[in-house]
């Protein structure tokens, strides 16, 4: 089926396609009009602002043209990842050549008129962006922020056994950290269950203003590096010093055949191993190093300076094409060098012979449904989370590790969705206590060596663990963008490592939401555990709740933040987020044993509202307004708030306290700012317009102010949260360090409710004493004072420290 050698006729066709794509790319960057050079080029035909990137484009087009051939010959479903995504005009050009562009964007017809529109819209106000973007057919990868081409490629390949992902990696991008480690993704790919990633390292030698590192090390060193990454490298080099491109086409075509044959062999070997009941050992997947000149085929020199094969070809090589007649001529000659008359007919249509290089229908890389993952999305089969509820006969009566409980449900999510759901984590799935449960029906996918001592490592599994948050995020993004589901569990502090990646994904979601042909994809779901308040082992470096702040800067249409206070609310929340599409859902939940507050029915009702009054915790009288509102969001703040409410209940029984718990943080925002925002009327009814609100919040306090600053009563909201004080210490010492502890909350109430009298003054003093005592006890004993460590909610109220104890201890410590 596959020809031994690629014949001259086919090579000529590949070359013609390549020239056409290059021509169209340059046209997009430069031309407003006269797209086929029917008349001499004048400055009126040239765009006033020349924006875009030429340098990487001929390489992207070269690979695209060659892939077209092998896709057709082998009927190989293929997804193209353009790592150097700033080569946007190239991907658009190819999509226009193979017809997809006109199918999707009907005004951009496959003729001269459409070509003119194609050119004009590029990087033009109201048109399309300069990079590969959601607007680009066939793309799941914006190449603006570099580094994620391979992780996206592997994410797309997981559970798509018939898919080939051709991932072009720029040699600039290759210098980034995320890309450098993502080569190791090949230790996490199963040749039977998953598709294949073919990395093509595009060594064109230059970045914006510098050579690239990998282009300036000896070839043998580069080959060692690729071998060290576990690949079998093939080198295709050419196009330098005016070498005839046909010779390079021949080498590329032949290499591509060899490589695809080798991939086929690898898969056959794996099948044979499986059939023989043997271990499917890690293959040495091939990869290609493609060394061609930067800006290949552009003018060798402009104004006496070398351009082709230098950094000067990176963006717009002829930045002043409009300014002098000489430059306009250079541009015209450059465009003519592709011989457009031999490529397009009188109407501006691509000649049939050239067009025949394109695969048909969905085999066209620009039309693959994998690049519009929503088309392939199947909703998850979710086991009824109510069946996994912990028993909560009354608030605080039982305890659970919330993430452990979630893990039991997730195990069954995995069982029921064996091919389109994965859990990603940076070696923290066990630490976050989703494991061991989640391994009940699966294991951690691992293609490297497995020893007898290992646990839960399997060749094909649903849990992906590698100590790289970038890899976890990139893989998951690739998986979601191709229509599958997943979650990323991570220590809360270190999710900041992917701040910039989630930025870019949120931007993708925002833009994709406005593109009619893009279908909804599963949400990007985070489970942040081992959070700021419980980093007993690790201390300050592991204490940072700021990811929430980062995420809420993104468009309100896209972001959701949940802080379930216990196990049942976490179950309900996660069922919700796994059903959702097109969001970034941030869920923060603890892994330590903690009191359960709500039964499952209560949890569902509470999560549906997103926030609500916990009547049982407060001391309101029906029909009257409370004197003070204690609000809380997050599991530890909820515990401290309830303890404070308990102290108030016992010691100031006449004080009318309302307790509000917030699960869905976005409920605090104004309706006008966020789709989840409460109406002002609802907000006022809950928080009052004039009573003091003491708000205990999981993260940096100002976020609550930011979310609520448009509310009527917001001047009265006093927020306690993390104020960047931390170290290796006990849980209660941590909340005291940050003034989020129960005693401090009671003091806050006393300081804010007027007219409480001497009894309150005495309580205030006792609370201050209790803080001193608790701190001293911790310093002396290395653990939390028993009154706090063993404190339990009681409907009668309790102080967590008795008056007598406190006084005695204060005297003892002499503080």
């Amino acid at each position: 089926m596959v020809p031994d050698t690629v014949n001259t006729e086919i090579l000529a066709r590949i070359d013609a396609w390549w020239r056409a794509a290059n021509y169209l790319s340059i046209g997009q960057i430069y031309l407003l009009d006269n797209p086929l050079l029917r008349e001499p080029l004048t400055k009126e035909h040239i765009k006033p602002r020349l924006l875009g990137h030429w340098g990487t484009t001929p390489g992207l087009n070269f690979v695209y043209a060659h892939l077209n051939r092998v896709i057709t010959e082998r009927s190989q479903s293929t997804l193209y990842i353009a790592g150097p995504g700033h080569g946007g005009p190239g991907m658009v050009a190819n999509a226009w050549l193979d017809g997809t562009y006109s199918e999707i964007y009907s005004p951009i017809t496959r003729d001269e008129k459409g070509m003119k529109r194609l050119f004009r819209q590029f990087s033009f106000p109201g048109g399309i962006p300069s990079h590969v973007a959601p607007e680009t057919p066939g793309s799941i990868h914006e190449g603006g922020e570099l580094g994620y081409a391979l992780s996206h490629a592997y994410g797309a390949a997981f559970d798509n056994p018939d898919l080939l992902v051709a991932a072009v990696v720029g040699d600039g991008e290759a210098e980034t950290g995320p890309l450098a480690t993502s080569w190791h993704s090949n230790k996490f790919l199963d040749p039977l269950q998953d598709g294949v990633v073919l990395p093509i390292l595009h060594l064109n030698g230059y970045k914006i203003a510098n050579p690239t590192v990998l282009a300036r090390i000896p070839e043998e060193e580069l080959l060692d590096l690729m071998r060290g990454y576990g690949h079998h490298p093939y080198l295709v080099s050419g196009g330098f010093d005016g070498e005839d491109p046909l010779l390079v086409h021949e080498r590329m075509a032949s290499t591509l055949d060899t490589v695809l044959d080798e991939i086929a062999d690898i898969r056959r070997t794996a099948e044979a191993q499986r059939d023989a009941g043997e271990d499917v050992t890690r293959p040495r997947w091939p990869m290609i190093i493609l060394r061609t000149p930067k800006g290949w085929t552009c003018p060798a020199e402009i104004d006496g300076l070398p351009v082709e094969n230098t950094w000067r070809a990176h963006q717009v090589p002829l930045a002043n094409a409009r300014d002098t007649e000489e430059h306009t001529r250079i541009l015209e000659d450059w465009l003519q060098s592709y011989r457009p008359d031999e490529l397009f007919d009188g109407d501006g249509r691509l000649l049939d012979d050239i067009a025949s290089l394109a695969p048909s229908s969905e085999l066209r890389m620009s039309a693959t449904p994998h690049a519009n993952g929503g088309v392939l999305r199947r909703d998850l089969e979710l086991p009824n989370f109510r069946d996994y509820a912990v028993d909560v006969p009354s608030p605080g009566a039982t305890t659970a590790e919330a993430t452990t409980v979630l893990g039991i449900w997730l195990a069954d999510v995995i069982r029921d969705n064996p091919d389109n759901f994965r859990i990603f984590g940076p070696d923290e799935t066990a630490s976050n206590r989703l494991a061991p449960s989640v391994y009940e029906h699966t294991g951690k996918q691992w293609s490297a060596e497995i020893l007898p001592i290992d646990q839960n490592l399997v060749r094909a599994g649903r849990v992906m663990e590698v100590l790289s948050e970038h890899q976890c995020q990139g893989w998951l993004e690739g998986y979601l963008l191709t229509g599958r589901h997943g979650l990323f569990n991570c220590y809360e502090a270190f999710i900041h490592i992917v701040d910039s990646m989630v930025n870019q994904h949120a931007k993708w979601l925002k833009t994709a939401g406005d593109i009619p042909w893009r279908r909804s994809i599963p949400s990007l779901n985070y489970l942040l555990s081992s959070h700021v308040w419980r980093q007993d082992h690790n201390g300050f470096s592991h204490q940072d709740p700021g990811f929430i702040d980062h995420v809420v800067n993104k468009k309100a249409d896209v972001v959701r933040v949940y802080l379930p206070p216990d196990a049942n609310t976490l179950l309900s929340t996660y069922d919700h987020v796994l059903r959702s599409v097109d969001y970034v859902n941030v869920v923060v939940a603890g892994k330590q044993p903690q009191a359960n507050w709500l039964s499952m029915d209560e949890a569902i009702a509470h999560c549906s509202r997103g926030l609500g009054i916990w009547d049982w915790a407060g001391t309101e009288k029906p029909g009257t307004e409370p004197d003070v509102v204690l609000a809380c969001a997050g599991d530890v703040p909820t515990l401290e708030t309830l303890a404070a409410a308990s102290v108030l209940r016992k010691n100031l029984p006449d004080l009318k306290v309302r307790v509000i718990n917030v699960v869905d943080l976005m409920r605090l925002q104004a309706e006008s700012e966020h789709p989840h925002g409460l109406s002002d009327r609802e907000f006022d009814a809950l928080f009052t317009v004039d009573k003091p609100v003491v708000f205990a919040y999981h993260g940096y306090p100002w976020l609550i102010h930011r979310l609520s600053y448009k509310r009527n009563g917001h001047e009265n909201i006093h927020v306690r949260g993390y104020k960047e004080e931390g170290t290796t210490t006990t849980p209660f010492d941590m909340v005291m360090l940050n003034d989020l502890d129960r005693y401090r909350l009671v003091i806050d109430v006393i300081d804010r409710v007027p007219g409480l009298g001497t009894r309150a003054a005495g309580l205030r003093q006792r609370m201050q004493d209790a803080r001193i005592v608790a701190r001293q006890y911790t310093r002396d004993h290395g653990e939390d004072i028993p009154e706090v460590a063993t404190w339990q909610w009681s409907a009668e109220g309790s102080a967590g420290v008795s008056q007598e104890d406190a006084q005695e201890r204060v005297e003892e410590t002499g503080s």
Copy 2:
């Protein structure tokens, strides 16, 4: 000088040191009392909460012991970087053994009493954190967030030609992106100007709950990888299956000698090349792969499960040491296995013979001044920035590219500080327009191949460019922490890539500030350009001003944010930040040609105040309050605000407009929140307590609310800023997309100032029309409407669009 073979006596001494360090490490993790096991161990001697990490510690101690020998023998100044910094007890143990710890912390004496305190304080409330941290002598590297060991090491080595940096890289850490690319740092090190980095890849095989990738690939593949990274790898493996550690000591000692000899050879070769006037070619630096069991020397099994050489040894292998008699015995036996009686004398002092392994004085790795960089810090010689001022005869009369102007000054900063100042950037120094000026007296340091076509590449230079923000940040941190100065210039959007790193550095600065023996180090300075408003080439992926929001979450003592509106204010700001210590300074400035507003004298006064009224721009009458305040921060918002002020001046001449520009964002915060915060009295005098304030801000608008929410008049502050709308478009279209444009600001004023009458209503309509016209013009022509593109400040005021034009054009477009 260097012995051919290391004799048995020395090996025994190394082993004894290692045993002592291991003993002390375990003591820190487990013991409250009975530090020398003078009596049988009981549960009362054991800490109630066992926190810390054992797994990596014996490896760290092993390397430390061996380095001690070669440092002494070669008088080699050495800095130790513990990549697996969670092995904190190891580094503390070694510092105690060599005496530094007791010199710095006098209560922790070098005897039994001190040992008991040493043990107790570790991971204990009020004590020291569990990781290598600022509290740890000899450290510049917190190992909590993994991935930066090598970049810190190289940063420390730059411009320290006599320094050896021994960088232990954990095999878990090696999976992170930043670490994976940081191996390539060896293409940026000059063997003459810089010190040497000796990477020691510590392959102990396991992470928290998984094997490591690099431990599970064939040895030849790993060696290929290291060769591909440009290293000459040496493998030292041992300690498995109960192998006598002395055999491993012998191999390590011998390898270390070989490696250090090879390094000496490399440097001699480089000197010879230099002396012969030849190019100093890139050497193939040696590195060591140290393969030893995780948790080496801990119990092989506990409760029937393998522990040594498994992931179970990662944290506290015997987590229940206190709970059963059997476990207590296991702990005692484990401790006794190091034969403490042969290590410490009756008073608990390390025996002299063993102690003699330590180098003397500052050669001790725990005492090296390089790890307390403030000791070595020399203030920069800063050329008088006033001499670099651009001429500003009147506001807006001249234009400049602010960063270009800064670059001219920085060139001379480089000239005058040839060995302690560097500029770092991810291939953006030219794009950000600091270049070409900054290359006047230097070049970009580059040890890989240099071709004749290259520009400004040199073997030893002051500018470091690699396409990895992680590398830039890590190198700079290492450079600063060892007492030198620098700045990081970056596209604004992509500085988010290092969010998490700046978190950690800010935490380091906060903690170090409270440690008496730590001296102040130069500030971490950012120059963020190619900012959100001017990403004409790249579009949405490159548009994100959120780094400021991220940074202001850190401690107010540490962070500073500056938004100089023009060239002279940027010069003044940068002179200030380069003189500062212990801060994270974020400076955002444009690179495009833009009007200059202030002469240098005015700029200095304005920057000193941090914000102020621009009288010349407003229409206040002396002695009366304004009707409205137009505030602005950032270069583009300043331009739009001045244009709006100009429109108002011309069209509503009776309206009293005050214009305030803010350079130092932290001035907006309350005095109680930030040291730069204005007093309420000052704030009220500037912003009024009851007049509308229309605030045009560079970034996400809510930050202004967050900073000012405690202010009296804050209810009246209306903020315009970036609301996450972007694409590849013109500069003015970008501000219109985000409602930050001059016309919108005028409308905002009209909507907020009561009683302006019909003339204002007419103006409002014209402004709305002007927006429609401007947008349509841009869609039609691909560039900004000339009225805006060529607009200049005039004291008489101008609309930027005439009434007639607008009406005509609206009619034309039919909008």
